[in-house]
Amino acid sequence: MSDRKEKYKKVAYYHGCALEGTAQPYNTSTRAIAKKLDLELVDIENWNCCGAMEVKNVDPEIQTYLSSRVMSLAHNNMGQDVVMAPCNGCYHNLKKAEYDIAHKEKSREVVEKISAKADHPAYEAGQVETIHALDWIKFGYGEEELKAKIKGGLKGLKVANYYGCMYTRPRHIFPEKDQGGDSESTSKPHYMDDLLEIAGAVNVEFPLKTACCGGAHTLSDSDTSTKLVLNILQAAEAAGADVIATECPTCHSGLEMHQIRALKRMSAETNVKIIYFTQLLGLAMGLSPRKVGIHENVSNAIPMLKEMKIA
């Protein structure tokens, strides 16, 4: 995989809206890791929102256009052929736009029409490769190399790896997955498990890796979301996890918000901590909790991490 190591060494970084707002610690820790591992992140200048989970419900082709503009900036303005998006929503939408532009005439037509009116080159399928932060570390840095960077490690911290919906579904927008070998599995994803195991965590057997947190309706149908999140939190605790590791800002903030809401509205208390996988990796490499933004999380893991001498 040395070609990917070369390819992912310098990537266009699309952090998106969430990582500037509720998911700041995901941004902080991703940048801290990049620095530590000497991987170059080039911010996409003058980016726009990918459309998240909402714009498609008003007009799916507009969502495709929004995502395509980001990829067009990376390819045409920056000369980058890899876009790295840590946010599952952004990652999903760029992948979906890639698929739709390659396979659906209407999507292609709308992208071309609006790009022309907005005075920028229309994105063409295949111009960039969109990857997740998990691909970026696993292949851009390499697992063997990562082992050498672990300092202190996670000291047997029990982790439930939670991937959510948008990282694996629907399958057709991820043609590189389920291809055997070291490709990711859409039914049982494992890239986060792999990295955190290297970092010294004990991954618990967690049956709800790709369950839904109700993120699309986290505010508009909060009771449904609270039930779904509570199920995930309780399953993680039942599996013996101290921490749920996340790689999606919608899942992460949904788990944080509904952990509190479940306590307030349903008197259901859970104590499992919710931490971005990039924060855990950073801690394992010896970065301070502040450097990876642990204090920015709502779910307060600092006492537990101190007790385990991880922080």
Binding site: C17, E20, E54, D59, L66, V110, C165, C212, L219, S220
Partner: protein, 246 residues
């Protein structure tokens, strides 16, 4: 796993008589159970075409009723009345009045795409749920749902500026859906956040709320997007036989 069943016999149409004798034979209790005849005459023969004319509904005709969607459904697991396979069946049959009995819950699809993942026929049931929820709103069968209020506020911000800002979305959604801005869980979240957060982050977040982030030179994209959405919405209304919005 079994296919989740749903049948068309309504509980109120199942009749039994505690005491009943027919031709000298005592058929009291369960012996006399019968289902009251119900004649469906109000088929909407356009229903499938109307759903298919809305974004997400395009592939509904492919369904062969295997039930994989309902079987894998996140919402069905917490509410058995949420039954995508059944609704797809009703739409394809044109049984509008039956569909309307569930009109208040169809919008609750969380778009987890488990159905789309499981569907052997590429129906994209998630899209069909969205199309059906929009159809219900457009036809005036339901009020604008909280989901649509959220989607529209979010989309409005993206179209206007190219970006969104969390705090503004939250505030406007609560206002637009007529909910109080002060929520118990929200207060608790803010309390937890400020416990560990250095003051500069709070300033940063306040700053973003006051001075909304924007994509530079977005004006032309905005105009083109607004024009496209207006065209699409007009086409959708025409497909449903509705008058154009003045």
């Amino acid at each position: 796993m079994a296919i989740h069943e749903k049948h068309l016999i309504r509980p109120e149409n199942i009749k039994t008589h505690d005491k009943l004798v027919i031709d000298g034979v005592d058929v009291s209790g369960h012996w006399s159970t019968f289902i009251e005849t119900r004649v469906v005459t109000d088929y909407n023969e356009q229903l499938q075409e109307e759903i298919a004319a809305l974004p997400g509904g395009e592939y509904i005709h492919r369904c062969w009723q295997c039930g994989s969607c309902t079987n894998s459904c996140t919402v069905n697991a917490i509410n058995p009345d949420f039954n995508p396979r059944y609704w797809i069946y009703l739409i394809r049959m044109g049984m509008e009045s039956e569909l309307l009995r569930d009109k208040e819950i169809i919008w609750q699809c969380v778009s987890c795409n488990k159905c789309t993942y499981a569907c052997p026929r590429d129906v994209v049931p998630e899209g069909v749920m969205k199309a059906t929820a929009h159809w219900l709103e457009m036809k005036g069968h339901t009020e604008t749902t909280p989901s649509t209020i959220f989607d529209e506020e979010f989309t409005r911000q993206v179209v206007e500026t190219g970006k969104i800002e969390d705090g503004r979305i939250l505030k406007n959604f609560l206002l637009n859906s007529k909910q109080p801005l002060i929520q118990d869980w929200l207060i608790e979240m803010v309390k937890k956040m400020i416990t560990n957060l250095p003051i500069k982050y709070l300033f940063g977040m306040g700053w973003a709320t006051l001075f909304q982030p924007k994509t530079k030179g977005w004006g032309k994209a905005r105009a083109a997007i607004e024009e496209h959405i207006a065209e699409e919405k007009a086409a959708e209304r025409a497909a449903l036989g509705l008058d154009p919005i003045k």
